[in-house]
């Protein structure tokens, strides 16, 4: 019979000092690049104007914040601005207005995984539950809520369609973000945890 040992990946080892390094900045830049490609693909694959109905980039945001903390949070802000501009799915003004929503949409999962001491490799039921609730459902609800509010503010959707657009946005983004996010966490986390770029705290 084998016994399953639960390891806390967020706990600092004795004498371990973690400070932000060049490596974190570079990984963030590369991660932004990955997010740009995934986000642009999503925006071009299901083009519905400024509304987001299928955007796998959200998985990149959640997973990035789980692995890289605040560096992932910064990437969550920057890459949608670039991918929106390249895909033509939002202008610079609209993208700037999305910034708080994008940050929260990404950081929610990073914060929850650190708070509840979950394993990014999704080893147990708790890890799956926290990822599903905070990394998929709540963060997409926040992102969709903020996004719809911005579109209302700029007069780009009809006032009476707010709830429908919100539900379409939240559910439409939740599906790819769950699938891609789970794949990333399950298969790539073991590599990331061993790397220098992994952040046990928010900045290092």
């Amino acid at each position: 019979m084998t016994t399953k040992t639960v390891t806390n990946v967020w706990k600092l080892n004795e004498g371990e000092i973690r400070i932000p390094q060049t490596n974190h900045v570079i990984m963030m830049a590369l991660f932004i690049g990955i997010g740009v490609v995934v986000g642009t693909f999503g925006s071009l694959a299901v083009p519905v104007g400024f509304v987001s109905a299928f955007w796998p980039g959200q998985a990149i945001q959640s997973v990035g914040c789980i692995w890289f903390g605040m560096w992932g949070g910064i990437a969550s802000i920057v890459f949608p601005m670039i991918s929106n501009a390249i895909a033509g799915s939002a202008s610079i003004a609209v993208s700037l207005a999305y910034v708080p929503g994008n940050f929260l949409q990404g950081m929610m999962a990073g914060w929850a995984f650190r708070l509840f001491k979950c394993d990014p490799r999704l080893k147990g039921g708790k890890d799956w539950a926290v990822f599903t609730v905070f990394g998929v459902i709540i963060c997409n609800a926040i992102g969709a809520g903020w996004g719809v509010m911005v579109l209302r503010m700029f007069g780009l959707i009809s006032p009476s369609s707010t709830l429908t657009v919100f539900l379409g946005w939240a559910i439409g983004n939740a599906v790819p973000s769950f699938i891609l996010g789970a794949i990333l966490l399950k298969f790539v986390s073991p590599l990331i945890l061993k790397s220098k770029s992994f952040c046990k705290k928010y900045w290092a």
Partner: protein, 287 residues
Amino acid sequence: MEGVHNKKMMKTLLALIPVKSPLYYFHPVTRLLLFIITGFIPLFINKPELNILFAALVMLLFIYSRVSLSSLKIYLPVIICAGIFTFLTFIFFPGDDSNNQAIGHLFSITIYDRPIMDACIAYSKILALLLSSIFYFSTNRERDILAALRTLKVPFVVSYVLGLSLRSAGMFLEDLHTVREAEQARGLDYSAMKFTEKVKLYSMYIIPLLSLALRRSDEISNALFVKGYAIKGSGKRADYILSKYNFTVVDIISCIALILLLILIVYFKYSYHLFDSDQSIFRYFLK
């Protein structure tokens, strides 16, 4: 377009453009400012005809810059789908405004004038903003964006991260191409795969690509360390890229004109309601 292809072309982030494009008489800062200003102007205009005119002007800029227009074909589905989506949301969710007047029917759904007018306003804005955004990325390379940011004295770490991000998007696609070629060399036949298998395969591509990015981040940070760069400033260094661009009188005049244009539009909008939809010719058509 034959004439365009005969000239020496240069690849920008989205398109091909002649090296001698007239747009390159302008400094990257002027082009960046054009991108920012044109990203705001349509939001202040509620007359669809003016936004359509704005979009037409951007198309003229494409022609002036000699951008290969065939590269814009990829955006045609975006333009069409965005239009359909925008109009459908306003048709299906017209709201309960008592001033709404029925102007027709679509499959037993009554179409009202005001929601359609609002849809025209929203779509004309989306169209104008979309084209102006595509224009910037069709006419500028990463290098131009970096030159603009460095001229504006943006901190090194910010311009470096942005430049590397844009470059890494291209590297990511190259890696994807390499992985796909390796799969084909091992006998993978995409045409024989079911749709669900293809979706699964595409999701799994992210694993080797992230592994490569991880390795690359170590290599790049080591290379920066060896060259003496640090995140918190590494002293003043000579900038080769900036030596290739001159900020001329034409740029100064253009920048002032662009800023003035935005200020005037904002002023006339809020002081004289000049760009409100009340006097739009679209409203007369809908009546």
